[in-house]
Symmetry: C2
Subunit: 355 residues, 2 copies
Amino acid sequence: MGNPGKPRPVAPADSGRRMQMADLARLAGVSTSTVSRALSGSELINPETRERIRTLARKFNYTINSVATGLRSGVQRTIAVIVPFEKASRQSFADPFLHGMIGSLADALTERGYEMLLSRIDADQLDTVAALIDSGRAAGVILIGQWRHHDQLNAMAARGLPLVVWGAHLPHQDYCTVGGDNVRGGRLVAEHLLAQGRRRMVFLGDCGLPEVAQRYRGFTAGLRAGGVGLPAQQRRTVPFLAESGRQAMLALIDANPALDAVFASSDLLAMAAVGALRERQRQVPADVAVVGYDDVELAAHFNPPLSTVRQPIHEAGTALVDALLLMLNGKTAPASALLETRLVVRESSQSAPAP
Amino acid sequence: MGNPGKPRPVAPADSGRRMQMADLARLAGVSTSTVSRALSGSELINPETRERIRTLARKFNYTINSVATGLRSGVQRTIAVIVPFEKASRQSFADPFLHGMIGSLADALTERGYEMLLSRIDADQLDTVAALIDSGRAAGVILIGQWRHHDQLNAMAARGLPLVVWGAHLPHQDYCTVGGDNVRGGRLVAEHLLAQGRRRMVFLGDCGLPEVAQRYRGFTAGLRAGGVGLPAQQRRTVPFLAESGRQAMLALIDANPALDAVFASSDLLAMAAVGALRERQRQVPADVAVVGYDDVELAAHFNPPLSTVRQPIHEAGTALVDALLLMLNGKTAPASALLETRLVVRESSQSAPAP
DNA sequence: ACGCAGATTGCAATCGATTGCATTAAGTTT
DNA sequence: AAACTTAATGCAATCGATTGCAATCTGCGT
């Protein structure tokens, strides 16, 4: 190192350009072929040479340029995770459920040696997703939520893009989804609320989104089985945003002063609903029972602790990643998966209503 | 969509390997040079030829391979965003504050034409971060939180790695940070609680983390100015996890039955604290005032709405990205930035204590 | 001393796009 | 009609690492 009289300090710590294999080869007095093989642990290289080169690499913080490697080998170990948002509402990224999902995906990808490119994309320009693949920046795409773009997703699948979607399984679907059993989830909530003696329910959520629509379907089916209806003034279309949830809930209270239960299509909305109920002096759960969806971490620590339908986020991440990798290897689109879904009853929906 | 008689839907559009520039050149009857120039809009190319090639490219969904481009040009438009976690507690990714930060960074990066590589990394192996840069997978790194690794970060900065950290500004710091004014934040909370007539405070948070330590310093300084102390049994070291927060708060209540205020070093902990207080039949804010930190979106919708110190998350994302880009261009590490910090008083700390 | 096996190492082509320079074709000048 | 512009396009080197094949060297058998 501190050799006096160096003609040109090749790359001190790194004053100039990044060190590359040729530099290391020069330093070691061998060819780049040898360096390459030494670093990859090839048996062809003399163990002593190998060790010498590796030591040198470590000493100079040399790491193989993975752009070059990627070009040469043609393999790409990056997966794009796309969180679509709706321009109108800037909706989506605020939901804690997404957060959990992203964390779970990050873990699953890391475990399998992949990197995660995270991107928010305007839901109306989903086709830019295809460019991620076509340009080789990602090997595959995991899309969180299908939103209102079923047909576009089918088109992308038809083009053979390696794509897996977290969301609902729909009829005429050519792409692969992984999701919870939303219909069952909705039905479980209905049954639970009915069992608690509730009758005048309201529903919060945007049925334009397939997952929400399924939850709604299960919910109303469950209610119908118990002889309870859900007329239009007891529903409200609302994006997954706390403030929107609050507004919608206030309106629902005003339109249905006697309501005794709320089913919100996400925990975030449920929490906002609790706030709105409180503003209107309704006690949860004494006056009104509230049930959410997702079972985000905070649900258990909310005040009151929130009853909710659990989405198995950890399994979800694993299942999404595995499905995508299968697709990348096998070329055969794996079947869509339906994950277990169960109701977690906590305080917010427990006690009987005041008659 | 439901097209009957599809032979094999696997990959009709491009059966086989990905189309590349040479293919397109052949189709257009020109050389790759011409295609390259046509697609990049060079004036050298005949407008008609240019348009013809572009149309062809669109028709075949051809997108320039950005791995090859990246290799040739040597520029990398990917920034790594690192969320360190502590192996012991799996701590960190659960915090909604992080979620907001990631969203904000994603927006700021996208706006400037960069991609975001998101990675969770064991805080004890921060050096793997350097490999991201050395291997050319990312042009720079944004690290969320400095955790207990001030020295390692200094070492990385000394190596000249383009690195910006969200966190506290510390003495003897060679890397660039962007962060809120934590000392001021802590002091504001102290002053507010004192003004509400509270005297028996407790503090929740891990002072091993520089940001928390500064909040604590500001808090105790503020209390001292009001003649109030904070003996050891009124503090609790706790990671940013809801369940840990609950446990710690329960312990604090038992150790200080007469407490009348809580300062939690994050909103997540504050929410967990409210839950614990509720378990012990303490009213918030009547019996005990609670103040959090961060002002996550949910804070305003919590029950009761949570008083908290606002961290300007949007500015933070912008500032972090801008600082990093400056570093990448100018080669000169920009000065660390301190963002505005202010107290948001909501219901959880409002009314006077029962005397 | 010659030939050959085995162990190491180097040469050069390759991955896909870009770009300086050369080349060709068409048009203009004298 | 020769000389010369100008416009449009192609050739070939380049980015940094990998790898099939060839080259070199050592040692050994005879």
